[in-house]
């Protein structure tokens, strides 16, 4: 089996993670700017059945890295120990907020802040990791050789801000798609700011990387590559304009789909810049791939598990398709118990209200 197959599987897991957890993190990022508590209830409800399924792909990606590219795992995890742990804490806090926010009236503001802060911090940490990754990781004798704060780079901060904007854009696209009325209007409005933030950060990051990373610059600007790759930034620019124009259009899925396209282009740009390195400029995927026996073991496992996970997640999304209020219509009244009009319901009733949805 070729290492590029494992790279493709890992890339797929990362792309699905970024798109799937991206929009639910984005909904969390938009949480504090939503106008009313009722909107926040609906926003949380729109992602409650799926957010943890989306995070499956983070685990999948990490495990695949551990099994298929062990050197990347044991070099990159120590190198990004602090931002990775911080991201996990943010995701943990966010998960707790999902469970506790609906149980309380007095501490609702606290859980609001935990949910929004967790989403924001997780997105920012992912940007820090990505930025540090592209700038390169110091290695000696095959292990990480640097300080705990080596991850902290200007590019990382820029990418963190860009990811916050990008995830917020995905979240807005999701809300436009899945909600109606004043919440949808809010999502359409806030989508503009998110797009400006994402596009500006994307342009800055690209320019900064091209200026400071010679290897990346030569990959993009040397002949004949520039002939093939010149369309990429042009398509990206066209896509940004298209998203801007989609925000007030009657086709409610368009913003989400185009934003996903923007992320795909960004990821493609990343692969073009770094290929074939699994640790930039030091270890290629062929040098970093695990030995033949483990490859067989991991390959069989991935070939079995990945389609199953994809299938049941697709099924879950299909079950939960449509507008949020239509979904309420399908499953009847119990969802009503989860909104603000009946705050402070006991744990007991929340369980019953979740029952039919599952």
């Amino acid at each position: 089996m070729d290492a590029s197959l494992f790279f493709a599987a890992a890339a797929l897991a990362i792309v699905i993670y970024v798109l799937a957890d991206g929009f639910d993190l984005g909904v969390g990022i938009l949480f504090p700017v939503a106008p009313r508590d009722e909107h926040r209830d609906l926003m949380m409800e729109s992602i409650e059945p799926i957010w943890d399924g989306n995070e499956t792909w983070l685990v999948f990606g990490g495990t695949l890295l551990f099994a298929a590219f062990p050197i990347a795992y044991y070099v990159l995890l120590p190198a990004f120990y602090l931002p990775i742990m911080l991201m996990l804490f943010a995701l943990i806090a966010r998960g707790i907020a999902f469970a506790f926010r609906s149980q309380t009236t007095r501490f609702r503001r606290v859980w609001d802040a935990v949910f929004a802060g967790g989403s924001l911090l997780a997105a920012f940490c992912q940007g820090l990791i990505l930025g540090g990754f592209i700038q390169g990781v110091p290695m000696r004798d095959g292990v990480f050789d640097g300080s705990s704060f080596h991850f902290l780079t200007f590019l990382g901060v820029l990418r963190g801000i860009g990811l916050i904007g990008g995830y917020a854009l995905l979240g807005a696209g999701w809300l436009i798609w899945r909600t109606t009325g004043s919440l949808q209007t809010f999502a359409r409005e806030v989508g503009h700011s998110a797009l400006i933030l994402a596009a500006a950060a994307m342009a800055l990051v690209s320019a900064w990387t091209a200026l400071t990373q010679e290897a990346v610059a030569s990959r993009w600007f040397d002949w004949p590559n520039i002939g093939f790759l010149a369309p990429v930034p042009i398509i990206t620019a066209i896509l940004v304009v298209a998203i801007w124009r989609s925000l007030w259009q009657p086709n409610e899925r368009l913003t989400f789909l185009l934003s996903a396209g923007l992320f795909l282009l960004g990821f493609a740009g990343l692969v073009v810049s770094l290929w074939p390195y699994i640790i930039p400029w030091k270890v290629t995927i062929w040098d970093g791939v695990t030995d033949a026996k483990s490859q067989l073991f991991v390959g069989v496992g991935v070939a079995l598990i990945m389609p199953i996970v994809l299938a049941y997640q697709a099924f879950a999304y299909w079950v939960l398709r449509g507008k949020l209020d239509e979904r309420r219509g399908i499953f009847g009244a119990p969802f009503e118990t989860r909104n603000t009009y009946s705050r402070g319901k006991s744990l007991h009733f929340s369980c019953t209200s979740l029952g039919p949805a599952l």
Binding site: Y81, V143, S148, T337, S346, H348
Partner: protein, 199 residues
């Protein structure tokens, strides 16, 4: 520990041989067959193992007692037993933690027994970074524990919702004297009617 001797023991001959080597006359290498440099800190493993097994025996005794009381039809009339069962609730956690201590401490000084020593497996992460995240884990988990206790206590203190169940059986749980299920309202797994939309 330096004497490499256990001064107090009750032994069942051949039992360990049976379950470790699956034969009646198997040879089990004791602690003395392991070089001192490859030995774990024995008192920790020694007592953790005995705590684990001791708790297991206590729980087994409680289970057998409960089965006996149930058989005699006195399970719901023995408050002393119910108090014992309540008091035993945390013991499972104690056993799990002790058992975990046995495996982790007992495997030292290796992470992969016989192949990779713990000292060689340390990653190049600074101890300060690990300490700070460990501290964070400690804080987060305790906050979650407190929040859980808060919400659980509130739910428990509120008590179960009124249902038709109480009319059938004055005692909680299953009861041999209770009428057969036929004709009775099927048990609601959530113990209450769904709230009406306006509630």
């Amino acid at each position: 520990m330096d004497a490499q001797a256990n001064r107090l023991e009750v032994s069942i001959p051949r039992l360990a041989s049976l379950y470790l080597t699956h034969s009646w006359d198997g040879k089990i290498g004791g602690l003395r067959s392991v070089a001192p440099a490859d030995q774990p800190y024995v008192p920790l493993v020694f007592f953790a193992f005995r705590i684990m097994v001791g708790v297991g025996l206590i729980l087994l005794a409680i289970a057998v007692t409960g089965a006996f009381l149930r058989w005699r039809g006195r399970l719901y009339d023995a408050p002393w037993f119910q108090k014992v069962a309540m008091a035993a609730t945390p013991l499972g956690f104690v056993a799990v933690l002790a058992g975990w201590t046995v495996t982790e401490a007992g495997r030292q000084p290796f992470v992969v027994y016989g192949h990779l020593r713990t000292a060689d497996a340390v990653s190049p992460i600074s101890a300060d970074a690990v300490t700070s995240t460990l501290l964070l884990f400690f804080i987060v988990y305790n906050v979650v524990l407190l929040a859980f206790l808060w919400f659980a206590a509130r739910t428990v203190l509120k008590g179960p919702a009124r249902t038709g169940m109480t009319e059938q059986s004055p005692k909680p749980g299953l009861d041999r004297a209770a009428p057969a299920v036929g004709g009775a309202r099927p048990a609601d797994p959530y113990g209450g009617p769904l709230p009406s939309p306006g509630e």
